[in-house]
Symmetry: C2
Subunit: 718 residues, 2 copies
Amino acid sequence: MAHSLASFFNPSSIAVVGASQNPAKLGAIIFQNILDAGFMQPGDSSSHCAEQPHVSENNTLRKLYPINPKLGNQSIAGHAAYASITDVKTAIDLVVIVVPGKFVSGVIDDCVKNRTKNVIIISAGFGEVGNHELEDEVKEKCAAAGIRLLGPNCLGAIFPYAKVNASFADGMPKPGPIGFISQSGAFCTAMLDWATEKNIGFSHFVSLGNKADISEMDLVAAMAEDPNVEVIALYLETIAFGAPWMNLIRNVAKQKPVVILEPGESTAAQAASLSHTGSLAPNARIIREAYRHAGAIQVSSMRDMFGVIQMLTWAPGRNMGRNVAVLTNAGGVGVLTSDLIEKYGLKLPRIDAQTTAQLQAVLPATAGLGNPIDVIGDADAQRYQDALDVLVQAPGIDQILVLLTPQKTTQVLQTAQIIAAARQKTQKNIVASFVGGQKVRPGAQLLQSKAVPVYDFPDDAVRVMGLISNRLGALESTDQIALPSPEPELVKTIKTAKANGLSSLPQPDVRDLMASVGVQMPVSCESTNKAFTLAWAADFWAQNPNEVLVMKISAPEAIHKTELKGVILGITDEEELENAWEMLRRSIAKGTIKNATIQTQHQIQGGQSLILGVTTDKNFGRVMVVGAGGIYSEIVADTAVRVLPTNRFDQMLEETNIGEIISGARGEDPLAVQALHHTMQAVQNLMLTYPQITAIDINPLILTKTASHCVDVKIILK
Amino acid sequence: MAHSLASFFNPSSIAVVGASQNPAKLGAIIFQNILDAGFMQPGDSSSHCAEQPHVSENNTLRKLYPINPKLGNQSIAGHAAYASITDVKTAIDLVVIVVPGKFVSGVIDDCVKNRTKNVIIISAGFGEVGNHELEDEVKEKCAAAGIRLLGPNCLGAIFPYAKVNASFADGMPKPGPIGFISQSGAFCTAMLDWATEKNIGFSHFVSLGNKADISEMDLVAAMAEDPNVEVIALYLETIAFGAPWMNLIRNVAKQKPVVILEPGESTAAQAASLSHTGSLAPNARIIREAYRHAGAIQVSSMRDMFGVIQMLTWAPGRNMGRNVAVLTNAGGVGVLTSDLIEKYGLKLPRIDAQTTAQLQAVLPATAGLGNPIDVIGDADAQRYQDALDVLVQAPGIDQILVLLTPQKTTQVLQTAQIIAAARQKTQKNIVASFVGGQKVRPGAQLLQSKAVPVYDFPDDAVRVMGLISNRLGALESTDQIALPSPEPELVKTIKTAKANGLSSLPQPDVRDLMASVGVQMPVSCESTNKAFTLAWAADFWAQNPNEVLVMKISAPEAIHKTELKGVILGITDEEELENAWEMLRRSIAKGTIKNATIQTQHQIQGGQSLILGVTTDKNFGRVMVVGAGGIYSEIVADTAVRVLPTNRFDQMLEETNIGEIISGARGEDPLAVQALHHTMQAVQNLMLTYPQITAIDINPLILTKTASHCVDVKIILK
C-alpha cells in the first residue's frame, strides 16, 4: 500500500548509502548538500553545531546517517557512520542510495529490514540501459514493503522549505512558489542555475528519473494540496497515465497554474526522444488538445517555460486576462506589438470614450489615443505617469504593456520608477519592454529589482502574456457534465452482437442506440427482400413526393463502398429503385460480403457534409473529432479534437474553418448548428455510457438549415 | 533630374540651417553631432583643430556652415555663422534643415539659389500632420532644382565611414557592415542603442521620414553598389513601389542579405498603422510572398531583426545552409531543439556512417550518436572538442549548434574556448547556446567576445538560423524567364472585345488565346442552335462512345451558375441533351442573361479539381494563385501565391496540401503534374504578354492521371 509522501517531503531522518570521505564522490556531494541545506539546523539557520541531532520545525529530532560498509566505525563531517542501514535501529524516513546499480537491490533488502519509509535511488544502470529486470526487482521489493521510491537514475530531490537537499545538484534554490518536476537531470541543473540568477524560489525541485514508483501523478497531487506551491512546472518526456493524469491536471489547474513542457511535436524530436528515453511519444495532437482543455499552460521550449515561470513568480494574483493596453513612445514599435498581440491570442480592446477623454486631457494633441496609446517620441516620465494613471483605472483592460525606446527626451530611470509605482497601485498586470542597449539598461534593472516583468523586446513579453492568459479561456470549459445511465436492453443488444462475433453493431441496433440519446437517423429500410423494399419506398414517396432515396449495401464488416459500387444516389422512382437493387445484389455477390442487406434511405439534399466521431485512445480514453467531411476531408484535415467529456461543442466547431462556414460567418446561410451540438452531445453520452463501444463514426453527417442528419453511422465494438 | 547620391553619402560641405548656441536645441545637437563624428578631422581622428576646414579623405576641403539669421556675425563652436544659405558663395553638398516647418519652404528657395545638392529636412509639420500641400511645395521646388531631399520629419542620416552624423541621434555608431534604413525615428534610436551595446557597426544609418524624395529604392540601389555594405536592413511601414521594388530586392539579395521588417500582418496592426502613418498597408500575403520569392529575409519582430543582424555581422561568408548538427550534453534539451529545428524550416541530417564511426571512436558507449549528438551529462571540455573535431570535417553538415547545460563535470570556460577555436578552423557556421545562469555566463561572455553567436536558449539560435537559411532556398528560384511575343491577331481580338464593352473575353476567343500558349481546352461546342449542338454531340459520341457531356450557360457577364441551374452534368445521350437544352434555355430566360449561348463540353471524369488564376495587384502586378478547387476551395484556402514571373511552379504546388496529394505523396495515384506545370507556364506567358488582360481564372482545372484540363476559363479585360 502506497503511503502518503509527507515523510518524503519533510523527513525527520535521512541516510545516505554510499556516503564518502572523498569529496569528488557523488555520495560525498549529496551528504554535503544535505548539511549545506541546513537539514540539521531547522528553524535556526545561523547555528552551526552539526554534530548533534537537532529539533526540526515540528519539534521532532532530525537525524542524519552516513552509510558505508568501509567506514563502519568512522565518521563523516562529524556524523557517526554505519556499515549498513540495518545497523540503524529506528525506521528511517528517507534513504538516498548512491552505490553502483548492482548493489542497489541488496541495499533495498536492508531498507525493508529497517522499515525505511522512502528511498531515492540516484544510481543508474536500470531501465535506461535496458536493465528492466533489475528495475522491476527493486520496484517490486519496495512496493511489497510499502517503501516509496524516487528514481532510479535521477539527480535527487530538493525541498527548500524543509531544508532538504537530497540531490547532487550544485547549489540550493531558495524557498519560493514554484513546484518543479523534471524527467531530465540536465534540465534540472540548467533550471537551477537560471533560477538562482533570476532570484526565483522553489517549494519542490524533483528529478523524476525512471519513475519506477513516484511519478508526476503523485507529486502534482501532493503539490496541489500544499499551500507553499503557487505554480507547478513540469518537464516531461513521457507520461505514465492518460485520462487520470488529465483529470488531475484539470482539477489542479483550476487552483494553480500548471506549466508543462513536453518535447516531441516534430518527427525529428520523436525519433530523438525514442533513442533518448526508449519510449514512444503518444499522439502529439491528442496530448496537446487534452492539456489545453485541462487548462494547463503548454509551452514548447525552454525559453517559454522559463519565461512563464518568471512572469508567474512576479505576478501572483494579478489580472492576467486577454485585454491588453499597449503604451508606447514609438508608434512603429506599437504597430509591431499589435501584430504580436494578435499572433499570441491576446486582444487590444478599443479604449472606451471616457478613458479616451481622460487621456486626451493629459496627453498632447499629436498623441495616438487608440490602442496602442502613443505618448510620442518626446514623452518624458511625467507623460508616462499621466497616461498610466488613466489606464490603471480604465475598465475593460486586464494588462498594460509599457514600451519604451531611448529618445532625446526619454527619462529612462524615472519612467521605470513610475511603472513600478503604478504596478503597486493595481491588480492589473503591468509589464514593460525597454528596447535598446546601455541607455535603457538602468531602467530595466530597476524594474527587475522591483519584480516588474521587463523584457528586451516586446516579443517575449507578449508571448509569455499570451501563454498564461490563454489558459484562462481554456479553463472556462471544464465544468462538470452529467451523463445518462446505460439502458439494460441496449447493453444486452451490444453484448449479443459481440457474442455473435460482430465487430460493429448491425444497423437496426445502431438506430435504436442513436434513438436512445435522442438522435433520429434519416428514415430507412434495411432488408434483403426487394418486394418489401419496394412497398416501403412507395409509402415513402406517398408521404414525401419530391424527395429522393439512396441505396447502399449494409454489412457488419467494413467494406469499401465506393469501390464496390455500394452506394447509388438520387433514386426518384420505382424503376430506378429496381435497377439499383439488382446492381447492389451483383456487388454483394462479387464482393462475397457476408450478412449483407440493402439499406434504402431518405437522401438528404443540399447542406454541408461533416464528419463526427469518437475513438478510444489507450492513454486518454474517449476522443471526439469533428470537422469538414466529404471527399476533401482527408486532404484538408479541418478538424477539432477533444478528450471527453466536454460541454464546449461550440468551441470545437469554432476551431475549424467549416465551423465558421456553417455558422454563416462567411456569408453562407447559417445551418442548424444547435442541432449539431445536440448530436455531438448525444454521441458523447453514448461513448461515456457504454464502455462496450470502442468507436462511433458518423460519415457523413449532413447539416442542413433545419436539421443534423446522421446519414451513415458506424458503431464499433471492442 | 535626380542626380546620384554620392555627394549625399560623402559630402564635402555641410550647412545646418537652424544651428544654435543653445545646446538643448535640435539645431545645436545636430551641429555638435557633425563635429563629434569627426567630419572636420577626416583621415586623422586624433587631431582636434576644428576651427579650420580640413582635407577630407579624397583630399578635398571639407566645410561646415552654421546658418541662423539671428547669429549672422557670430560663430558656433568656432565656425563662423551665416544669416542665410545665400550668404555662402559656393554650392553646398548637404544642407540640414531644422527650422520650424513653416520656414522650410523659404530655406529651400535659398538652397536653390545656392545650388545646394542635397537637403535633409528634420523639421516636422508636413504630410504626417495632414499638411500635404506644404510637403508637395517643398518636394516640387527640390525636384525642379535637382536637389535630392531626405525627409521631411526624420531623425537624419549617419554615414560612419564618411564620418558624417547629420542627425539628432544620441551617439554615433562605429563603421561596419550594416546598411540600415528605417521609416521610424524611434526604431532608429532603439537600434542605435542596442547596436552600440552589441558592438555592431553600420555603413549607413538613415531615417526616411515622409519619403518626399529619397526612398528605400534609392538607398538600397546605392547600398547594393557599395562594397562597405554587407547586409541591408530595413524597417518599413509603407512601400513606395511594388514590382520595381521587388525586382530591386531580387537583384540585390543575390549579392547581399536584405533583412526586412514590415509591421501590419494583423488586423489590429493594420488599424494602428493606418492611424500612425495615414496610409493603407497592401495585401499582406502578396507582400510576404513577394519578399520571400525575391530572397529577402523577412522578420516579423524587433527581436528577430536584431537577432538576424547580429548573426550576419558575426558570420560573414559562412555556410548557413539548412543542415544542422546539434551537439548537446543534455538529451532532453537536444530533443526540444529538434522540435525547434523542424519548426523553423531547418534540417537535422542523418549523420553518415563514416562520421558516426569517428564519433563512436572518441565518445563513450552511452553517448547518443544520432543527430542531436548527445555527449551526455558528464562530458568535459575535451569530449566536446573530440566531437567538434569530427563534426567540423563531416560532410552534409552546414551548421553546428552546440548546446551546453551546467552539470557536475561541465567545464564551461574551456568548452567555450574549444567552440571558439573550432569556429576558426571552419567555414561552417558554429553557434552556441549555453543554458543556465551564473555558471554558464562566463562561457557565454567568452564566446561573445570572440564574436561567436551565443544565445541564452536554443530557441533564439534556431529561429535566427532558420530565418537566414531559408533565404537561400528562396534565392534559387530567381532565374531569368523568357516570354513569348504577343500575336497581333490576338491583341486585335482582345481590343475588339474591349471596344464592344465586354468585361470578359467570349469563349471562342478564350479558346484561341489558350491555344496560342499551347493549352487545349476540353472539346466544346458553343451555340444558340439546338440542332447544331445535337449534331456536334452525335459526332462527339461517335468518336468517344463512353464519354459524357456537360452543358452550361456561357455569357460574357458573370453569372451565378449554380443558383440559376446553369450547369447540367452527366449527359450521356441525345434525349438527356435535349432535356438539358430546354432547362438551360428556361434559366437564361428567367435570369434575363444577355448574349448568352449554351456550351456543350466533354465532361472530364475523375481527377482532382484545382483552381488556377492570375490577378493584377496595383503594387505588384501579376500575381498567380494555384490550389485546391471544388466546393471546398473557399473553405480550405489551400493555395500558393506568387508574384510573377516565376519558374518554380513545382515549389508553388509543394506549398499546398493538394500539391502533395496530386504528386502521389499520400498514397494516391500521382496525377499529370508536369502537364499542370505546363498550364501554369502558359497562363503566366499570357498574363505577361498581353497587358490588356486583367485576370485569368481557371475554375475548375481538372487534373487527371494523363492531362491538365482547363474546364472553365475566364479571361477578364481591363
